[in-house]
Point group: none
Chain length 427, copies 2
């Protein structure tokens, strides 16, 4: 059903939104439209129903037609893309045309753009950049902290149009930090809320999670549970609809507790926490330091650990010993261990972990050695065979893993298993 | 402009398609719509223009409205999702309603479903599965080799509707192996092909690329150029439509040469090549080895280099010296250099590069030191300040960079600039 025709004002109860992604590259399939999912999730969280997501190319008539259609059936129309400095970027003039407004030059935006370039040591600006300072008359602008394209809100009749830059790294922070507060202020947030809680598991197969949570996955009505498999983890997502956030939370809680009871230690985080954040918090909380000796992961574990701000408190150093001489010279792995057992072995993993702990002086030494493929595997030591060793005071534990997939996903799974071994050892 | 109203038949020259994804989970943002990109790419490859991608929820009226709208403006309408056995799955009955056809039971489909379950050791089928054997009258069915939902083609007036299952692992093989041949057979494939060539640049701003390629970006007709900004790089994508792949290639070539002439050294790759692949090929080709001393990137450069199969031929080792003691103990950075200039300095970068080259014995030593943020910046040394040093036989060069963005993107840009410095040094 189309949302009621005779809606009275934006403050009506059931607000509907429509998302229009603009960009020929989307229609060519060169880019996946992740913005639609992001915006939909965020809109749901403030009680706004998204009824349509549309994608159009950089075509004047079709952009206008899409905007007019959206305005005829939705309260909030959000566009993404087409705000850049190039001739292809025509979203704003098309919005202006669709609602019959002129484009006007905004000096304040131009000043922000100049500031942006000056901060990057550029004082002469190419004239195409100036295009980004033109806005439909009456537009409210939102500064882009990551790029030069400002965001825009325009009230047209009873509806509001929000135009956002296309790159997710610009769109996401802008939507969170300025658009959501703006919608709330203007009374455009919905009265009901949809809340979700994501429980993240690792070290367990999706099929095992599925069969142990079958009854929960079959819940229907105002409370549902979904299962999603991601590289190195499985997610159970609880969704509840209610009149208030508190009521939604009340519906979520018992399901969450049940999931926690059933899956215990397999659960490492909630609501998008990363393994590296969880591990980092544990290390920082215990005042422990860690050092890494990586072989097949090539530095990925160190990279993931240092994605967390403040990781210098616990991450001392890493060695990527990609060659046997490096394993010997830096980590003091014995020549005979390498010769007898091979670089991918329980014994070498142990010596690498002991070695990195000794030379770094860290409380924990972690080591991985394995075959990421696609070449280098043998019948006895196939691609995907990985040893992970964790050495702490008086104890060294070693795990053997067998992963499948391509080089990149074997590296990723190895790094996840390594981080999970740290997490479990800190329990 | 909407595609011409009075089109004569499906065999007309410029065919347009529209993709409708069905599923409330897409509107909630729980799933990213990768099907739209996949189908668009495949349709482009057989000369069919996609003008719209739409997403609607599991709502009878809105699904019907979307189908009617699509039929009014497109030759080929492809739906994905809503073919499953649950009560939410209503795509087929809604197509039937939209075009005024009854739903009929197809025994041949029911037999296939039974076969599917029998092959998995299941002999008693729950009755909801039977729903999947009902089809709009006149439908042509395509067997699903991966699941139970059959694909469907229905000719309605001058248009054709194709209904596909939602899960990508079911949709993709079905589209490739049965739908594309079906469209070709029915004369629904475009008479021409669309080919693209992507030229990838790094070390230059999007706005600078834009102003230097303005005339190319304004090309219209059967040959166009688009510009896309991605983390650490800018892409120029040439798209050509022609009757044959060879003719399309002929149209692309002169534009590609012009781009290569204008941007020279800023171009690092073509058609999705990564910087690490290009660098790896250069190193392997010259028989050179490399070692890495990373600070703020935490191992990311090593991780990227080792994403390439065969990288053990040139990547010897890496040290992630995340603390000052590690810089001194392992890389032999002098205490006084650290004390006088600070860890983030030209001088420390130089000593790190010399140090890693010396201890590894590699031909090239690369070092990065910087402030990834969000904390740790000062007025003199702000977040985003990075030094990259490259030491080779008899020569050490150092670059100062100032990046913006969050921690993760500063790390990424640093790793790209470092890889680019290696690339340029190997020219």
């Amino acid at each position: 059903m189309f949302p009621k025709k005779g809606r009275s004002s934006l403050k009506s109860r059931e607000l509907t939104a429509e998302i229009i992604a603009v960009g020929t590259e989307l229609l060519l399939g060169a880019i996946v439209n992740t913005n639609a999912a992001y915006l939909s999730r965020k809109l749901a969280s403030i009680g706004i129903n998204v009824y349509y997501q549309t994608t159009v190319g950089d075509n004047p008539e079709r952009i206008q037609a899409a905007i007019r259609l959206a305005l005829s059936r939705s309260d909030i129309v959000i566009t993404s893309g087409g705000l850049g400095p190039t001739v292809d970027d025509i979203t704003l003039p098309m919005i202006a045309k669709a609602i019959g407004r002129p484009m006007v030059f905004k000096k304040c935006i131009m000043d922000e753009i100049k500031k942006y370039f000056r901060a990057r040591g550029i004082n002469r600006i190419t004239c195409n950049v100036e295009r980004q300072a033109y806005m439909p008359e009456g537009a409210v602008c939102f500064i882009n902290t990551v790029g030069t394209a400002a965001g825009v809100a325009i009230h047209a009749g009873k509806a509001v149009i929000i135009a956002l830059p296309g790159p997710p790294r610009e769109l996401e922070p802008m939507f969170d930090s300025t658009i959501i507060p703006y919608l709330r202020k203007k009374g455009c947030a919905g009265t009901g809320v949809i809340k979700t809680r994501t429980i993240q598991l690792t070290g367990i197969f999706e099929s095992a999670v599925d069969s142990r949570a079958k009854d929960l996955l079959e819940l229907s009505g105002s409370r549902t549970v979904g299962i999603y498999s991601k590289p190195g983890m499985v997610e159970l997502k609880i969704t509840a609809k209610a009149k208030s956030a508190r009521e939604a939370e009340k519906k979520i809680k018992p399901v969450e507790l049940e999931i926690r009871k059933r899956f215990g230690d397999f659960i490492f985080g909630t609501d998008g926490e990363t393994l590296e954040q969880v591990v980092g918090r544990s290390l920082a909380g215990r005042g422990l330091t860690i050092a890494m000796a990586e072989s097949c992961t090539g530095g990925l574990i160190g990279h993931r650990l240092t994605e967390v701000s403040g990781s210098s408190r616990y991450f001392v150093m890493g060695v990527v010993s990609y060659s046997n001489p490096a394993k010997k010279a830096i980590l003091n792995v014995k020549h005979e261990t390498l010769a007898r057992h091979g670089a991918v072995s329980r014994e070498v993993a142990r010596e690498m972990a002991l070695g990195i702990r000794a030379i770094s002086g860290a409380d924990i030494g972690l080591a991985v050695t394995g075959i990421a493929g696609p070449t280098g595997g043998t019948t006895k030591k196939p691609v995907g065979l990985v040893y992970i060793a964790l050495s702490s005071k008086g104890r060294t534990q070693i795990r053997e893993c067998r992963f499948t997939g391509d080089r990149s996903s074997i590296k990723w799974r190895t790094s996840s298993a390594a981080l999970d071994l740290i997490r479990r050892s800190l329990k």
